[in-house]
């Protein structure tokens, strides 16, 4: 790594001058967030583009927070800032109120033990068995052999690997390797788990298993999880909150259910469409009958969420506004236990009636997006 510029002067580093006692007593930030990122900026090459362009983010304790974005959006750079594998050029990082950028090397190493990390390519030691891999963080923390043995025995069943304790990583499937990775990350009892594309090298079934495991461990161990992914399916499966990144910025953020049912930004819509599958093939649109004389045809995608997700919206609109509605496609789904439906509708009728019908639907809180025919 090239020489890094010193971190900008943060409140805690000014506190350093006020004496050690002061520093120890006062947390760096008045924040209830487990992870607090403020204005992170990172530029790799002088004159190059910003990998991080002022990213601010709060992850509440106990939350599973997902960050999605296309390749190169800056997701890895961001998550690597949380344990300072990557140092931002500017900004603040607080983990449970502790200002990481103000720590010296030994203190940073200690802080890192409280932050577990799981990697896309597992990054296991090839010459250590499953047990020895899990023991690694405990060994470097200086625990005794007996303590290490006890802790490894405790954690193996959590990830369902008792039978593989003496296997070499090369003898494991991808899913099993990631279980070892997770066990290793959790060995030193961290309160935070960082997952950098933890399931991107796995098949869909194994992905589901690993995600379920992470969710279960979050509940049992009261972890806070920050995970990055380029698959919206991962977010849909386990996240509570999601942020969408593009070109080093967070462009949209919110509760997963809200972002899925009411995406705001075009990039978010494309991501959401991956999982929800709103799009109607052009050949289907071409086959729809044209409107009669004096009438219009409007294609729209309607997302039903919340209290109206089970209401007979289509027949009500058809009856009350005198329009014909052709359901081109539709499905119901569930995100985080909340039901929602997605439909592609073709509405036929006098222009004013169609507009009024759509306006009425919007008035009910449904998300109506017109599809260009």
């Amino acid at each position: 790594m090239p020489d890094l510029p010193p971190p900008i002067l943060s409140p805690a580093s000014t506190a350093l001058h006020m004496g050690a006692a002061m520093r120890d007593l006062s947390p760096a930030y008045e924040t209830t967030a487990a992870i607090h990122l403020d204005g992170l900026t990172r530029r790799f090459a002088a004159g190059g583009t910003l990998a991080l362009d002022g990213v601010s983010l709060d992850v509440a304790p106990g939350e599973i927070f997902g960050i999605v974005g296309r390749s190169g959006a800056g997701k890895s750079t961001l998550i690597r800032c949380v344990n300072l594998l990557e140092r931002p050029d500017a900004g603040r990082i607080a983990v449970f109120g502790q200002d990481l950028l103000a720590l010296d090397e030994p203190a940073l190493r200690a802080a890192r033990r409280g932050i577990g990390m799981v990697f896309q390519h597992f990054n296991l030691h090839t010459r250590r068995t499953v047990s020895e891999n899990i023991a690694f963080p405990l060994e470097i923390a200086g625990l005794s052999r007996a303590e290490i043995r006890a802790r490894v025995a405790e954690i193996l069943p959590l990830v369902g690997l008792e039978a593989k304790r003496d296997a070499w990583p090369a003898q494991l499937s991808g899913g099993q390797k990631q279980r070892v990775g997770i066990a290793r990350a959790l060995a030193s009892r961290p309160k935070i788990l960082l997952c950098d594309e933890a399931t991107s090298a796995l098949d869909p079934e194994t992905t589901a298993e690993i995600l379920e495991l992470i969710r279960g461990l979050r509940d049992r161990l009261e972890l806070t999880v920050l995970l990055i992914t380029h698959e919206m399916g991962v977010v849909k499966a386990i996240c509570d909150q999601v942020a969408v990144m593009e070109a080093g910025r967070i462009i949209e953020q919110g509760r997963v259910f809200d972002v899925f049912t009411r995406p705001d930004q075009p990039t978010t819509r494309r991501f959401v469409a991956e999982v929800i599958g709103h799009s109607v093939p052009p050949s289907t649109i071409a086959r729809l009958p044209p409107p009669r004389a004096e009438e219009i045809r409007r294609l729209a995608q309607v997302v039903f969420a919340g209290p109206h997700s089970t209401r007979a919206v289509v027949s009500e609109a058809s009856r009350d506004f005198g329009i014909d509605i052709n359901i081109v496609s539709g499905r119901v789904d569930e995100i985080a236990g909340e039901p929602f439906g997605v439909m592609a509708l073709a509405a036929y009728g006098p222009a004013a009636a169609v507009e009024a019908g759509f306006a009425w639907m919007r008035g009910l809180g449904l998300t109506v997006t017109e599809i260009e025919a």
């Binding site: 594998l85 190493r109 990390m117 990054n123 030691h125 010459r127 690694f136 470097i140 090369a170």
Partner: protein
């Protein structure tokens, strides 16, 4: 086998012993000195654990200088140094000095390559877990590179067998020297043939043993 008189047999055995001594001792020295040099080169590299250009550059140049000097010239060029270390400039002990020097430079580079082959991800994981630099070197870098380090040592042992034959030039003795003196100068092709055969077997044996050891320690 009329040429294989007891005297000739003793000569062959003695030569084999001298070769083993030259190869074994210089390889041992090369490993002991070459590994720290390789670690230093690796760690101080621009993308290394603690980049130090002012260490990396000169050290790299020194290693390359030793490596690019033809062995026969190196051997003659360092005679004063040899005399200082071994107390003499001829004989098996004297041959070991240039052999060890050449092997150290050679092995340092091979070791550095082996360290370079270690998956960066494992290093990163260790950093994320709060490992110190020393722990990363001793508990990750070297253990993960071990199969590569053994393979590199095997390669240099084999090269050393060849170089040690040249060491006959400074009266180092050994199989190469025997082959030249008896097989060539006294025109005893049987001696030459048996020397070559022993050398082939020696190299084969070393290579097979090295390969076996690599297989044993790697779990890929």
């Amino acid at each position: 086998m009329s040429w294989l008189t007891p005297t000739m047999r003793d000569l062959l055995l003695e030569a084999l012993w001298e070769t083993a001594l030259m190869v074994g001792i210089s390889a041992a020295i090369a490993v002991v000195i070459g590994l720290p040099i390789a670690l230093l080169l690796h760690v101080t590299a621009r993308e290394g654990l603690s980049p130090r250009v002012w260490i990396n550059r000169p050290l790299g140049l020194l290693v390359n200088a030793a490596r690019s000097t033809p062995f026969i010239i190196l051997m003659v060029a360092i005679i004063p140094f040899t005399r200082l270390v071994a107390g003499t400039s001829i004989g098996t002990a004297a041959a070991i000095v240039p052999l060890a020097l050449a092997a150290t430079a050679f092995l340092a580079r091979l070791f550095e390559n082996a360290l370079h082959e270690v998956d960066k991800g494992v290093i990163e994981a260790a950093r994320a877990m709060g490992a110190t630099r020393l722990q990363i070197v001793t508990k990750v870098l070297v253990p993960e590179a071990l199969p590569g380090l053994i393979a590199a040592t095997t390669v240099s042992l084999v090269s050393l067998v060849g170089f040690s034959a040249m060491a006959g030039a400074v009266g180092g003795g050994g199989l190469g020297d025997l082959g030249i003196r008896f097989g060539y100068q006294r025109f005893m092709p049987e001696v030459m043939a048996s020397v070559v055969l022993i050398l082939i077997l020696l190299v084969q044996g070393l290579q097979s043993f090295g390969d076996w050891l690599v297989r044993r320690v790697s779990h890929r």
